[in-house]
């Protein structure tokens, strides 16, 4: 039924009739009016949710600034060749042995006195009086032998599996330097208890160094800090043992591990390889071409065969 105003109001300006009014069908009520409204989260609930997310948030805060997650996921989830077996854990075992030596060594240094007149007494004090002293000293002493043995087993694994070949020769060379440094640690550490055995073993060891022609005699003088084994010898060995060589070892372990992650590991020689199972070595080297930062694209995609893009791209100029 038309309204009287329709006579003079043009059609576009007319008021639309209400639903349910004359002639206009009623539309169904909105769905959310038929049910009770959704429960609003309480303040407590919201705080709890935030607390749950806090670790993630703080990690994200750090990662936004360090951009390390790309590298870390590339490293931790990298693909390893088929046939990887327990022999491949010898390197990690050596690293663990080194960490044991570093930690126990720090605590032994708290009680040890590098003086010719007090060294033996301080070791006796550690063994007999200090709580768990004999245990920690024993860990350091036997751990030293364990580390040397593990280094050689790890070296044997690398040699017999042919893992020293291209492109991993540099890592072999670094490993050999690490072997020499480990032997230096074993040699210098042996004198520190300053008992009869360590005294005479060091005399013999220094004299073996001296048998090298031309430089040998001077090397002996350098090790002893003089023509005879004396007070300076012990402090010299102590400084080499706990400051010089550990620093070098830590730095070289870093380089060693970097190359392991960068180049990947080798398959055992008995694995039949039709196609290379990881990216070609040559493409690894290409990834380092100028203008294409290794991190994270090179590191992620070519080492591990895992594609990691975008996030953390601080190091990767596009």
């Amino acid at each position: 039924m038309p309204k009287p105003t329709d006579l003079f109001v043009p059609a576009p300006l007319r008021k639309t009739p209400k639903p349910g009014a004359a002639g206009v069908p009623k539309s169904p009520a909105p769905q959310d009016l038929k049910t009770s409204p959704p429960e609003r989260p309480t303040d407590l609930g919201r705080t709890g949710e935030k607390a749950l997310e806090a670790p993630v948030e703080s990690l994200a805060w750090i990662d936004q600034r360090m951009a390390a997650s790309g590298f870390l996921t590339g490293m931790l989830f990298r693909k390893v060749p088929k046939g990887t077996n327990w022999f491949y854990t010898l390197g990690s075992a050596t690293l663990f042995a080194f960490i044991v030596q570093a930690v126990t060594g720090v605590f032994l240094a708290m009680f040890y006195t590098p003086s010719t007149t007090q060294a033996y007494a301080s070791i006796s004090h550690i063994n007999n009086d200090v709580f768990l002293g004999q245990f920690v000293h024993g860990m350091h002493k036997w751990g030293a032998s364990v580390m040397v043995i593990l280094v050689f087993l790890h070296m044997g694994r690398t040699f017999f599996f042919g893992a020293y070949k291209y492109p991993r020769e540099l890592n072999w060379v670094i490993g050999v330097v690490l072997l020499i440094l480990t032997m230096t640690m074993a040699f210098t550490g042996y004198l520190l208890p300053f008992d009869q055995r360590s005294y005479w073993a060091s005399i013999v060891g220094i004299n073996i160094n001296g048998t090298g022609p031309i430089v040998g005699p001077y090397l002996s003088d350098f090790l002893r800090a003089g023509p005879e084994l004396g007070a300076t010898t012990l402090s010299r060995f102590y400084a080499i043992h706990m400051l010089l060589v550990p620093g070098a070892i830590i730095a070289l372990i870093g380089a060693h591990l970097y190359l392991v992650v960068k180049l990947g590991t080798t398959a055992p020689p008995w694995t039949k390889t039709g196609k290379p199972r990881i990216a070609e070595p040559s493409s690894n080297l290409d990834a380092g071409a100028p203008g294409n930062g290794y991190h994270p694209n090179g590191a992620g995609s070519t080492i591990a065969g895992v594609q990691i893009d975008g996030h953390g791209g601080g190091g990767a100029p596009a």
């Binding site: 010719t116 005399i203 073996i208 040998g216 005699p217 001077y218 003089g226």
Partner: protein
């Protein structure tokens, strides 16, 4: 991933639009190095000098003992009447002071013997440090020999090597007599003919060409 085209850093320009850049400030005709290069080289050289200023003293500090000779020490070991021609007497004396028992050493001392063709009225002090690797040798009266427990080195009554791995005779100490008291002084080594040379470490040959392969160390005293 970036496309190949994205890697081109210079946008394309028509040849007529390419302009040569104005020369950098301070440029003059015929200059061989830019100012930037000069500063780069100069700052690196300065850094190198600073690095050497740290490294050289530290290395010198560590290797200085090679060139340092300690004070000459003479230790009294008893009156001349204590020593005979036909057998040795053990004396313990301090060779390296300040480190307690570790600085002590042992010498076997006797009078020189005419039967062995030695200069008369002298004293012979033989070090018990084995010429192989420095273990302590012992004089065995029954055999009349010095015997080393470590690797089986054997020396005769005069200290000449007669068996085992040692490379030269036993070392000796200089001996002098002051007011009837025998004193031992610096160590020296001998050749296989018992000619005195500067002290060598165990394991090092003496005499002939070996004098050059195992050169004398500045930290030792001249032989008598």
């Amino acid at each position: 991933m970036a496309d190949e085209a994205d890697k081109i850093k210079q946008p394309y320009r028509a040849p007529e639009q390419v302009r040569t850049e104005p020369p950098p400030p301070g440029y003059f005709e015929g200059e061989s190095m830019t100012r930037r290069k000069v500063f780069a080289v100069a700052s690196q050289a300065l850094g190198g000098v600073a690095g050497l200023a740290i490294v050289l003293p530290a290395v010198g500090f560590a290797v200085a003992p090679i060139f340092h000779r300690g004070k000459e020490r003479w230790e009294k070991i008893g009156p001349t009447s204590d020593f005979t021609e036909d057998t040795y007497r053990q004396v313990v004396f301090t060779e390296t002071p300040g480190i307690g028992d570790a600085g002590k050493t042992l010498a076997y001392v006797r009078r020189s013997s005419k039967e062995l063709g030695e200069e008369p009225n002298q004293f012979v002090a033989i070090s018990n440090r084995c010429a192989h690797l420095g273990c302590p040798v012992r004089f065995v009266q029954a055999a009349g020999n010095f015997i080393c427990p470590c690797h089986g080195g054997v020396y005769d009554f005069q200290g000449k090597r007669i068996g085992g791995p040692p490379v030269r005779p036993l070392d000796r100490f200089q001996v002098r007599v002051t007011k009837g008291q025998v004193e031992v002084g610096p160590r020296y080594s001998v050749t296989s003919q018992l000619e005195p040379v500067r002290a060598r470490d165990p394991g090092e040959f003496t005499g002939g060409v070996w004098e050059y392969l195992y050169p004398p160390r500045p930290s030792t005293f001249p032989p008598p």
